[in-house]
């Protein structure tokens, strides 16, 4: 991205990146074309063409080079209908898989980044009602770190429902018993609670130890933007 910033600052407006073709399908799943403006274009002279933009009384002077934007009235109205994903935009098999090594990473910060990627909040196509997020694999879950005295003082509680059925254990004890549950508990608290949240949670795969059975999905390294996620030694 630093390279792109340099290009833009040096050559300003006239820089056209390759994906800026007007008729390209920039969304890889469903075509996202069509500027639909009912243009009553009266070709006055070569340079400026007048077209009436809907809902406005004044006509707009549009230079001839940009008339193509207002000529095409076929297709969906891109500028007045907010994009909503179709079924082809969130097929589970096409979603990216990320992998992250939890060794010496601060628990909460790691869980926050994971939750953001699982929910899809880092995407332009984010929709709260649709699962657009990616899959995340966490390895070395037993080596996750916490700061301060949380290792002996952080309590995990659960209640069986019956009176007197509360069990309390410390971070340490839970890590010895079921290390995956620590990260799962943290991420589940950060995902939305509801039907969609529960199905999002199934996109998280946590493993103790360095290997995982998902080599076929070719997971990519999870991009972490938090600078304080690595434990300061």
């Amino acid at each position: 991205m630093a390279m792109a910033v340099n290009c833009a600052t040096s050559s300003s407006l006239l820089l056209t990146k390759p994906s800026n073709k007007p008729s390209s399908t920039s969304l890889k799943k469903t075509p996202f074309l069509g500027f639909s403006l009912p243009a009553a274009s009266k070709p006055s002279f070569q340079l400026n063409r007048v077209s009436k933009i809907c809902c406005q009384e004044k006509t707009a002077l549009v230079p001839a080079g940009q008339q193509w934007m207002f000529d095409d009235i076929t297709g969906p109205d891109v500028w007045n209908k907010t994009w909503y994903p179709k079924a082809a935009d969130h097929i589970n098999t096409d979603k990216p898989w990320y992998i992250v090594d939890a060794t010496d990473k601060i628990l909460g910060r790691l869980a926050s980044t994971i939750a953001i990627h699982i929910r899809g909040k880092n995407l332009a196509t984010y929709t709260p009602s649709v699962d657009m997020g990616a899959f995340v694999i966490v390895v070395n879950a037993e080596k996750v770190a916490v700061s301060g005295k949380k290792r002996t003082q952080k309590l995990y509680r659960r209640h069986s429902g019956r009176p007197g059925g509360m069990t309390v254990e410390t971070f340490d004890q839970l890590q010895k018993r079921i290390p995956e549950r620590i990260i799962e508990h943290a991420v589940r608290g950060m995902l939305p609670k509801g039907r969609l949240g529960r199905s999002l949670f199934t996109h998280l795969k946590v493993y103790t130890g360095p290997d995982h059975p998902h080599e076929a999905q070719k997971p990519v390294e999870l991009p972490i933007r938090d600078k304080r996620i690595q434990k300061q030694t």
């Binding site: 991205m1 600052t9 407006l13 920039s26 969304l27 996202f32 196509t125 929709t127 709260p128």
Partner: protein, 128 residues
């Protein structure tokens, strides 16, 4: 007083209401008393949600723009983008920005670079 039967007056009124609730689920489209209640609730919801719709969509656009803008740099965010837009007096609204962000992400990056380097540009053109 002569005896007056009510006849079909009530039935005519209720058919209209039944037509409204004809696509509801289960008893809500079959039982008369339930139908009247559900029609009232449906209309109330639609009235209330027409106002909420405006709020919800704006939230969605802001979230989408934020998601795309944060990819741009470590400390660049939606709030800074909006501040820059206002400084440059660019009146693009969030709906359009969000649609640009989805369909043509590089275009949004170009816009944000332009307005971000406004001070730099002014110095540049001042030198020439």
């Amino acid at each position: 007083m002569t005896r007056i039967k009510r006849g079909y007056i009530a039935r005519r009124r209720r058919t209209k209401i039944r037509l409204f609730a004809s696509s509801f689920r289960g008893a809500h489209s079959r039982l008369t008393r339930t139908i009247t209640q559900q029609k009232i609730r449906a209309l109330v919801s639609s009235h209330r949600d027409r106002d909420k719709q405006k709020r919800n969509f704006r939230r969605l656009w802001i979230t989408r723009i934020n998601a795309v803008i944060r990819e741009r740099g470590v400390s660049y965010s939606y709030s800074k983008l909006i501040h820059d837009l206002y400084k440059r007096q660019l009146v693009l609204n969030r709906k359009i920005l969000a649609q640009i962000a989805i369909s043509n992400r590089n275009c949004l990056y170009m816009i944000s670079n332009e307005i971000r380097n406004e001070v730099g540009w002014k110095e540049y053109t001042g030198i020439i």
